[in-house]
Amino acid sequence: MTGSMSLAAAAYQTSTGEAVQFWVLGTVAVIGALGTVLMKKSVHSALSLAGTMIVLAVFYLAQGAYFLGVVQIVVYTGAIMMLFLFVVMLVGITAADSLKETLKGQRWMAALCGLGFGILLIAGIANASLHSFAGTGQANAADGGNVQGLAHLVFTKYVWAFEITGALLITAAIGAMVLTHRERTEERLTQREQAEARVREGKQVTPLPAPGTYARHNAVDVPALLPDGSISELSVSSTLRERGQIRDVSRDAMRRLAELDQRSDEWLERAPEQPELEHDGERAPASAEEGAK
């Protein structure tokens, strides 16, 4: 798009279009970066980062690095960010990270160092004399295009590094497999053994209760209700329990029950009776708050 201008051998100013583009998208990039750091949920962080990366891709294209611009979108935004999202999903999408600092003085030190470092970098750049620039036009044209130019360099001057990068990638792939693969070291327990173990250890012997799916909601994170109206956590998948992602419907159910009672009381003209709420405060924080009132 703005590549035409960089055909000039040496220039002092970029085009106005690029300037406008820089200021607009640059702001977006910084906001994205801040979002990455400041968002509580990692999914949001990831999305912010993806935005910043796309902006950077545009900047690459604007500066004549067409190949990189495309690769940035395909590899970074397309592959790496997706990888991030996958892991975030694996680990827990909604688990919000508390931004409260636990290490003494860490935040101060971080701010100090970060600020100092930034100032130093900016001072360094300001110190450099960058009045004119060559532009990538000629370099791109020399081999008949940006991709050809890069290819020429990669396969001649940097071929050794390139080969090593190949080795690195393979190692990384194998490394990832080794790290995430769990070797089964002992024989898998048979059903009989599992049952015996369960009896021996005094765990729940009967099958776990089914979740409340279809009873009221159309999702597996809804626990079944016990006769007194409280939830049975056992009925929800342990992963969800771990993340604290149980949709507590007991209050709703209680309310409806209470309404039903009230209606029937009104109908039968009986004195209203307050049902007692019993919840496990620790397991379900939302209802615990309710109980505390």
């Binding site: 640059g26 950077l56 690769v71 160092c113 990538t136 370099a139």
Partner: protein, 99 residues
């Protein structure tokens, strides 16, 4: 506009990324911040390439991307395996290194 502005932007992004690494505890977010820093560097490289009028900077940026990809693969694998054993993705929980 002087292309050096890209460098300022890169410096800014790098610093933000660095601060994120220091502040955030979620290992995944820390990783993202590292990626942000790497991207800032890449932007600087591409800008330098433009300033000097040769493609070496872009080649380096290209290599950075490749290495970053490799790093992410291994890093995320580590995070997953830590999460499996500790049920936490917080970097503060992995502090066995002290005496």
């Amino acid at each position: 506009m002087n292309p050096a502005n890209y460098l300022y932007l890169a410096a800014l992004l790098f610093t933000i990324g660095a601060a994120g690494v220091l502040i955030r505890r979620n290992a995944i977010v820390v990783f993202m911040c590292v990626e942000l820093m790497l991207n800032a560097c890449n932007l600087a490289f591409v800008t330098f390439s433009r300033l000097h009028g040769n493609l070496d900077g872009q080649v380096i940026a290209f290599f950075t991307m490749v290495v970053a990809a490799a790093e992410v693969v291994v890093g995320l694998a580590i995070i997953v395996s830590i999460y499996r054993t500790r049920h936490s993705a917080s970097v503060d929980d992995a502090n066995l290194m002290k005496l």
